[in-house]
Each structure stands twice: as C-alpha cells, then as structure tokens.
C-alpha cells in the first residue's frame, strides 16, 4: 500500500479554515525547514485510511482469543456516550464540570465495590501505568514508615513482563520466584524469598495459566507477616469480577484495565485506562486529587501525602465514560454474569480442544487456558507460531504466543463472554482442521498464513537495519 507521502501532490489541500480576520502577526524567528507533511484532498485521505482499515483486524472483524488481553466486544452505546458534547467539549481545568465529577465519583464507588478496595484514582492511562502507580504507593508507605531497607518486589516467573519492568522503574530490585507447575505461587519459594528487605509482592489471580490460586490468602498472609504489601495486577479480573474480590484475598492495592474487563476498546494499542485502587491506609498516597462532596457540590481536594502526579489532569477521562456506561448497563446482575460466561466459554473451548492439543495445565480453568505444543513440535516440527499463523487463514486472530514464559511453545486462549457457542465451535473446528494438516502435511504450515496481505515479515532485518520513518526521494 502506498504511504500518505507517496500519495501527496504538491499544492493539493483540503479547505478547513476561514480567512484570518485579524492582522497577521510576524514572528522574530520562524522555522527554516518546512515539515514535509502530505498534501492531499479529502478523497485521498478517506480512501487511504479505508484501505488501511481493510488491512487491520479488530474485534468487529472476527474472533480474537488473545490471551490476557480480554478482547471482548466493545459496545456502541459506550462510544456514543463518550462522544457527547457535554464530555468532549469540557476543558480539564474548568470549574463547572459536575457531570464529569459525578461520573468519576460513581465509577470509583462501583469499581471499589467490585474489587473490595476503599479508594481509587483514574489518573493512570494504561495497565502498566497503573502498576507503576501502585508500586509507588508501596514505596511511599515504606518510606513514610521509615522502612527504607524494603527495596525488593517479589514477582513470580509466570507474571506479565510489565510487572518486573514497572518494579525496576519504581526503583525496586526484582526477585523472581519460580512458580509451581500450575503457575501458582510455590509457598516454600515465597517463604524463602520474603524478609526484612521485602517491599511487596505483585500477583495476578487467576494467574497467567488461567488457574485460580487457591492459596491466595496464605500467600498474602506470608507477605504481610514479613512486612510487605500485596499488589494485584487486574489484567485477569474478567474471570472473577462479582465472584471474588482482590480486597478479600488480602491485596492492598490493585490496578484495573478498563480496556480489558470493562469493555473499552484497545484502539490498536491504546488509549487505555488503568485505575488504581487501594485500601484506606494507602489512600492518602494516591496521585493527584480526590473528589469530595460539599453541600451537594463535588470538587477536587488535595490528598495529604500524595506521591504527586503520574499524568496531567484527570487521566483518560473519555475511557472512563465508556467503562462507566458499561457498568451501568451490566449492574449488579450483569457483572458476575459476565465473569461466569467468560469462564464458561473458556472451559467449553478448552473441552473442545483438549483431546487433540495438549493443555499446559489440565483441569478447570478460569477465563483463559494455555496449550503447549512442545511435544507436537518435537514430533512434527510444527511450532506454536505455525499454528497461530495458520489460524489467520480461518479469519481468527491468533492467541497470545510464547507466553507465559514457564510454558514451552505456549498458545494462550481467552475467548471472553461476548463470543457465541457457534463462534467457539467454528474456532475449535479450525484448530482441529489445522491439526489434521499437521498430521498430513506439516511442511505446509511453516509459511502460513497463505491468504493474508503479506506473508511472514522479516523481523530480524527490521531490528538490525531499522527503517523507522518514510524516506523522501529528494
């Protein structure tokens, strides 16, 4: 596909602005070299992006069982709500924004109820941003209590990569502990790891193998007894919302991904929203301000001991509007019903596949499960990557590949609750069809997908000789 720059024609333009109706101001110093932005008509732009959209696969295009990403359907009413002029035209510093404040305050109340937390901030703009913020609360807590020797964060090896990365960014040392075979925390390893220098533990439950860690209360107790705090990575909340609450499991602070569990779209990589909730003893440390009510009017108020700010203004407000519309629609019945059906869909799909493909951890799963193709690869040479790519030819977005790291040749599937039985049946049929091909003609799978716009790209060259922008001829 041609780039915008290749479609550009000198002198072509859209007519957007009226004539300047005041005297022109001349600057003392102006730009020497003009930016080579494309010069296009509206027709050019419209067709260009329509073409790009045709080569982009979203949830509306088909089944998207990308594990750990909770690619559920993004309801249209949420988008409509976020496009209301009364939300989009509001300056972040204007005083008379009672509607925005009420929405944020109510969303906070609902999400605290779902998670068992006491207070929440919507400032963090994504999950990893939430992790960093939550870890800052832990850091501040130890600092205020004079526990400056508590510099270590314990992270199981099955954790999302953002967990250790966020810990480092927050100035902590990461202690990786091996998980037991089912991806759960090995209690002996945890006991060995905790001590005087433990600042906290980061965990997701259900874990990245889709297993609910039954020992969760013991785990959080061990960390608390050692003087550390417990952080809950909310990436997998969709399995348990309305069923079990991180606050009751012993977690002190959490982040949520509104763009996962609460149905806001991913936008091809954001904007997301990663609100951070905490128990009341950490609430004064939360970033930015809190909303308080005074004589029926809501207003922002400083926190006593805040870590400061982690983003400008009030976070990705319109994303919160979308999640709020979703919460209002679901209500007290819909939240647990969502979780239950997410778990049902995962178990149903696993059931359809487990006689053919090896499941990394047999037994009951939560919202997702992991296949291991390690043996299959040894026998046939077909890798997890080959199967993932082959699925594209069936109109299915591949599962998460090669994660978690403690499973070899992993494919992680999360169907979500918004998929129908028919879609799951079709997906299972595709998997079984691919398996048939593996038996009959394994070689043919090494260059899948066969029907996509491009074949497999050369990633090594891309990294060794980076071309990161369009090169103009002149």
């Amino acid at each position: 596909m041609k780039t915008l720059f290749e479609r550009s024609v000198k002198g072509r333009r859209c007519t957007i602005l009226p004539e300047n109706d005041v005297p022109v101001y001349e600057f003392a110093e102006t730009r020497a070299v003009a930016p080579r932005l494309p010069e296009l008509s509206e027709t050019d732009i419209s067709r260009h992006y329509t073409k790009l959209a045709q080569h982009t696969f979203g949830v509306n295009n088909g089944f998207y069982p990308l594990g750990s990403c909770t690619m559920k359907y993004n309801p249209k009413i949420n988008e409509e709500a976020a496009a209301l002029e009364g939300f989009t035209q509001i300056h972040p510093t204007q005083q008379d924004a009672q509607g925005s404040l009420r929405l944020l305050k109510t969303a906070e109340k609902y999400l605290c109820e779902i998670t068992g937390m006491d207070e929440m901030t919507f400032t963090p703009a994504a999950g990893a941003h939430g992790e960093l913020t939550g870890l800052m609360l832990i850091k501040k807590y130890h600092e205020v209590n004079g526990h400056t020797q508590r510099v270590k964060i314990i992270v199981p090896d099955s954790a999302h990569g953002t967990n250790p990365a966020s810990s480092s960014m927050c100035g902590f040392t990461v202690v990786n502990i091996p998980s037991s075979e089912d991806g759960c925390v090995d209690l002996d390893e945890l006991r060995k790891a905790v001590g005087e220098d433990t600042a906290g533990l980061m965990l997701t439950n259900p874990n990245t193998l889709g297993i609910f860690d039954k020992n969760i209360k013991q785990i959080t107790d061990i960390v608390h007894e050692a003087g550390g705090l417990c952080y809950y990575d909310g990436a997998n909340l969709n399995a348990v919302m309305g069923i079990a609450r991180p606050g009751d499991m012993g977690f002190d602070c959490i982040h949520l991904n509104l763009h996962k569990s609460f149905s806001t779209p991913h936008g091809g990589g954001g904007p997301g929203s990663g609100p951070v909730g905490c128990k009341s003893f950490l609430a004064e440390f939360l970033p930015s301000q809190r909303i308080v009510e005074e004589a029926g009017t809501l207003k922002w108020e400083d926190r006593k001991d805040s870590i400061g700010m982690v983003r400008s203004f009030h976070g990705n407000f319109l994303v919160v509007v979308k999640a709020f519309a979703y919460l209002v629609t679901l209500g007290k019945q819909g939240v647990p019903e969502t979780a239950k059906n997410a778990v049902l869909n995962a178990n149903y799909l696993k059931h359809l596949l487990e006689d053919t493909y090896e499941v990394a951890k047999p037994g009951i799963c939560m919202h997702e499960f992991v296949l291991t193709l390690e043996n299959l690869k040894k026998e046939t040479g077909v890798s997890a990557m080959d199967v993932a790519k082959a699925l594209q030819d069936y109109g299915i977005h591949p599962p998460t590949m090669y994660f978690p790291l403690n499973v070899h040749e992993a494919l992680m599937l999360e169907p979500t609750e918004t998929e129908s039985k028919e879609t799951l049946d079709e997906a299972a049929a595709a998997f079984l069809d691919i398996y048939k091909t593996i038996q009959e003609n394994p070689e043919s799978l090494h260059d899948t997908p066969h029907h996509s716009y491009i074949k497999r790209p050369d990633e090594v060259t891309a990294a060794r000789h980076p071309v990161l922008r369009y090169r103009f001829d002149d």
């Binding site: 780039t3 932005l37 494309p38 850091k139 309305g242 977005h397």
Partner: protein, 429 residues
C-alpha cells in the same frame, strides 16, 4: 438488565453440561468459599441501552459547555476536521489490539509508521516512537532516557507546565533523581542558571506563560556542559516557530492533544516523543519499522523490541505496553488534512488572534505581566481572575487560566474577531 452475552440460557446449560460441569457455581469450585462474594454486589440494577443512554446524556448535561473558550494552559480548543472523526471511528482501528500479528495488522502498523514520519518531520528529529500516554509522561520518560549513575541532577525550567513538572518529580522521586528547578526571570529561563553536573534539562516552548524561550541559547549552554536537552513543544507552534531540531534539542516531546483531539476533560491525549539517532535504542514504547515479507513485499512490524518489557522484563527501558495508538492516528489524519500550509495557517491564526486580543486589552487600559515575545498565550495583570471568570461564565465564555498575579489568556483559530471584541468589552466592564 443489560448484557452482551450472546449465548441463550439453553446454550449455556448445554455448554456447561458438555464441558462437564453441573452448574455455574461448579466452574468456581477452585475458589475457597470464604473468598467468594456472598449475596449481591452493592451496585444498582442493570439497565437497558435506552436507560443507559439517557443517564449518560443527563450526566453530560451537568457539565457546562462554553460557547467561547479563551483558555489553553495545556489543553487547546482547536477545530477538528470532519475527516479526522470519520477515520478514527472506523471500527477496525477502534477495536484492534496492539499489532503483534503483523500479517493481519498492516493497516494499523502503516498508520503508526506514517505517524512516526510526521512527528520526525514536525520536530526535525531522526526517530519517533508510537506515542506515550500524554505530554507530561513523555517528558518524564525522556528524563528516564538520560538517567546516568554519575549525574543525578535533572534541571527543570519553571516555565514547564505545572502538571508536567509534577509528573517529572514523581517519576524522579521513584528513580532517586535530584530535581533542580530553574526559576524564571521576567517569565523566561536564564541560561546562566544551568549547573555543570546535570544529566538533562527540560524546557518548554512556548513556556507555560506563553513566552518564547531562547531555546537555542539554552541548548548551546547545556551542550557545552554535557547536558542533554529535552524540549517539550506545542505541536501547533511547530507549524511556524523553529523546530525542536533547529533549536538544538536532543529529545523532542510534547502534548499532541492540539492535533485533532477534543478537550475531553483531560483525556485521552497524546504524548509524542522523538530523538536523535544516537538515542534511538533508549526510546521507550512501541516503534514500527519497515521490512519485507518472505516474498520480498514491503511490510511493517513492531521492532527494536529488545528494549521492551515483554522481552527484557526488569531490564527494559520502560514498562510501557498500551500507549495511545488511536490518538496517534488522530494526529496523523489531522496533519494529513491540514498539510504543511494548513498547519502553518493554524499556527499563524492562533498567534495573530492572541496578539490582537493582547493589543485590544492594552488599548482598554490593561497591562501584560511580561514583555517577551509570546505565541498564542499571554499573562495579563489581574488582581482577581476568579471574579472575572465568574462574570464571563455567565456570558458563556470560559475565561483565561488564573495564574499568580494574573490571568493566562489563550486564542486559537476558533476565536473570531467578533468573539475577541466581545470578550474585551466584557473584561472592560
């Protein structure tokens, strides 16, 4: 109640049975009973779509929508071309995940590649990433790029947006930076204040008070002392003022909101980041590169992933995963719709209107706090900006941002001469 679950009750029963479960509760038998929520959550009943639509509309009406806005201070009210909204509402772009699977994501990957190119062109820098959360985080991430074990000092001009300074301070507290604030003199950063042993300096152009800093001089001084220059710049201003590269910046960052994003009570916005070739591998976040597929056809992929959290874990250059891809797309379409001439025209109109407002206010007897050259914002001396703004609000005008000893006015292409004249009349009352 509302629900987005397609399976009928009958189907759910069948699926449970087929997968070997007796009931929904049976699915959760691994969760210890004492950890389960017993009874109902304390939430309202679910609602139909119609009821949700009404409720959200009602909430939106509790916000005041101003007919005329004369406030910027980090969030700018610009015209958004219709094509921008049309493109960024395409479902494929809205609902896709980060483009890990290149074969079925060429569209979104190419759009990011084009965005990176436009940011490079605007800033004059060599490389751009695919975006970060907002302008403030972009500045804090840029500081992280410069961190060295030997130099703990980070110089931050007082002319940088207060929120950005706060975010830099918070990130810096966690990483044990020593933040040194450079106080302004007559509204401007003084190059004489640069100390020797700092890793980097953060300055803003135009600064928070609207003034045009002598960035060239500051950058020269910084470079002579081995200090990396991080310039946070309003992208609209880049249409007419020298680019960050022309000013001598090593890292260019900024708030991309003026490029087609509505005010939205503060977000989603867009943090852009671009740097010199030398700093390429220190950039945080996603970066798209051009390559070929196995048949030699042009292809785009996420690249230089050896910097990133999913590969490097605790050794990653940043923890960033989701960024602001759809906002980056918004900026691209906005810039494509305006083109080089259009962007220059926006910048010129903003500046011209702000200067017109300033001269009219001066004619009416008001004085400006600073005498330096400004772009599209300026501070007028004012004892009680709050009272003034309350008066303006009654007329549907959002007045300037109250700052110490004055009020920070802003004009954009949205403010017609007629509107400006009406404002001056009101202010003069």
């Amino acid at each position: 109640m509302g629900s987005y679950i397609p399976n009928t009750k009958k189907q759910r029963e069948e699926m449970l049975k087929e997968a070997g479960f007796s009931s929904f509760d049976d699915l959760y038998r691994d969760i210890p009973d004492e950890l389960k929520v017993h009874g109902e959550l304390n939430l309202p009943d679910g609602k139909s779509e119609l009821e949700t639509a009404k409720l959200l509309k009602q909430l939106s009406r509790e916000n005041k929508v101003y007919t005329s806005i004369f406030r910027g201070a980090g969030a700018y009210h610009h015209y958004i071309p219709a094509i921008v909204k049309s493109v960024v509402n395409k479902e494929e772009f809205v609902t896709a995940y980060t483009p890990y699977q290149a074969e079925i994501s060429q569209g979104v990957l190419q759009s990011i590649f084009e965005y990176q190119t436009m940011i490079c062109e605007l800033t004059g820098m060599d490389v751009s990433n695919a975006s970060v959360y907002d302008g403030a985080v972009a500045a804090a991430e840029a500081v992280s790029m410069c961190r060295s074990p030997k130099k703990k000092k980070v110089l931050v001009s007082e002319g940088v947006h207060p929120d950005t300074r706060k975010v830099i301070a918070t990130y810096g507290w966690a990483a044990k930076d020593e933040i040194v604030t450079l106080n302004l003199k007559n509204g401007l950063t003084d190059p004489e204040d640069l100390v020797d042993d700092a890793s980097c300096i953060v300055i803003q152009q135009p600064n928070y008070f609207g003034l045009i800093e002598d960035v060239k001089k500051i950058a020269e001084t910084a470079h002579a002392k081995g200090i990396t220059v991080i310039l946070s710049m309003n992208p609209t201003a880049m249409g007419i003022l020298p680019s960050p590269a022309e000013y001598g910046a090593d890292i260019a960052v900024g708030e991309g909101q003026p490029l087609g994003m509505p005010l939205s009570y503060g977000g989603p916005y867009l943090g852009f980041m671009a740097a010199t070739q030398k700093l390429m591998r220190k950039l945080p976040g996603r970066i798209v590169g051009e390559t070929v597929d196995s048949e030699g056809k042009k292809a785009y992929v996420l690249t230089l992933q050896a910097r990133e959290q999913h590969i490097r874990r605790e050794k990653a250059s940043s923890n960033i995963c989701s960024n602001e891809a759809l906002c980056a797309l918004t900026a691209s379409v906005y810039l494509a719709a305006l083109g080089p001439e259009g962007l220059k025209e926006v910048a010129e109109q903003c500046a011209s209107k702000a200067h017109y407002l300033a001269s009219e206010l001066k004619k009416a007897g008001f004085t400006l706090k600073y005498d330096g050259e400004f772009f599209d914002e300026f501070v007028m001396n004012c004892e009680d900006p709050k009272a003034l703004n309350e008066r303006l609000a009654e007329k549907g005008i959002l007045g300037g941002m109250p700052v110490e000893g004055g009020i920070l006015w802003c004009c954009t292409e949205m403010n017609s001469k007629e509107e400006i004249d009406a404002l001056v009349k009101e202010v003069s009352k």
